[in-house]
């Protein structure tokens, strides 16, 4: 099974959710700022990389985890990718899930992400994204827990 966590830019919420899934971040306690910043791809994606699925790794059940940004039209691109998947891999037994985690974001992360990725004010934006992620952290952990229960 391939699992793609998607968000707006593929830099914060999808990265954190994938990191929880992979076990890079704890699912039952709040990680520190340093732990979040140490996650691969966190606050790194550039604008021209939006849409590219980045490989995060394999989880303990051999599910392959990707992260991906989808911009504003995430519903459109999600549907298009599922349809295109049917063309690319018609004989696979639906082995892909695209999960959008943008709805779990709060305005701290949105503003921080905009400052860091769009305006390049990293020194202000990046800590703000971490603050926002920490505030909603257990929503991300809950989502991963629910997904794992469903697919395993």
């Amino acid at each position: 099974m391939k699992i793609i966590y998607s968000c707006f830019g593929g830099a914060h919420s999808s990265v954190v959710t994938a990191a929880i899934h992979m076990g890079y971040l704890p699912n039952n306690s709040l990680p520190s700022k340093e732990e979040i910043l140490a996650v691969p791809f966190y606050d790194k994606a550039q604008n021209n990389e939006i849409g590219i699925p980045h490989y995060m790794g394999k989880d303990q059940n051999n599910h392959i985890i990707y992260i991906m940004g989808m911009g504003h039209a995430r519903d459109y691109y999600t549907e298009m990718l599922y349809e295109f998947y049917n063309e690319v891999a018609p004989y696979n037994n639906k082995d892909i899930i695209i999960i959008n985690v943008t709805s779990l974001l709060n305005n701290y992360t949105r503003l921080g992400g905009f400052m860091s990725r769009r305006l390049n004010i990293i020194s202000l934006g990046r800590p703000l994204t971490v603050f926002g992620i920490q505030k909603n952290y257990f929503y991300f952990a809950e989502l991963v827990k629910n997904l794992k229960e469903r697919i395993n």
Binding site: Y66, G71, Y77, Y85, I96
Partner: protein
């Protein structure tokens, strides 16, 4: 390889390009532009045929952002080992 002719608004131009690619007569494109748009309301790549090099030709709307569309479609292709080429028709 899968080749997708992507359009933002001008579906007729994308059809015309795909028909030329497939060595079909573009005058055979059956409907008017408005009817074409109406018949392509579903979000999916529409399969048109196979060219002489056995590439599969599709038509798809690229949505709001061409770069995201291209990255995402080529990315899905990479994941499943399928070469994908996106051609934007303005």
């Amino acid at each position: 390889m899968k080749i997708v002719y992507a359009y933002k608004k001008n579906i007729y131009a994308a059809y015309r390009a795909a028909y030329l690619h497939l060595s079909l007569n573009p005058q055979l494109i059956p409907k008017s532009r408005r009817e074409l748009m109406r018949s392509h309301e579903n979000i999916k790549p529409y399969y048109l045929g196979i060219d002489e090099d056995l590439n599969e030709i599709y038509i798809a709307s690229c949505g709001r952002n061409y770069t995201i569309f291209q990255n995402a479609m080529e990315g899905i292709g990479r994941i499943y080992g399928e070469e994908v080429q996106i051609i934007l028709i303005h």
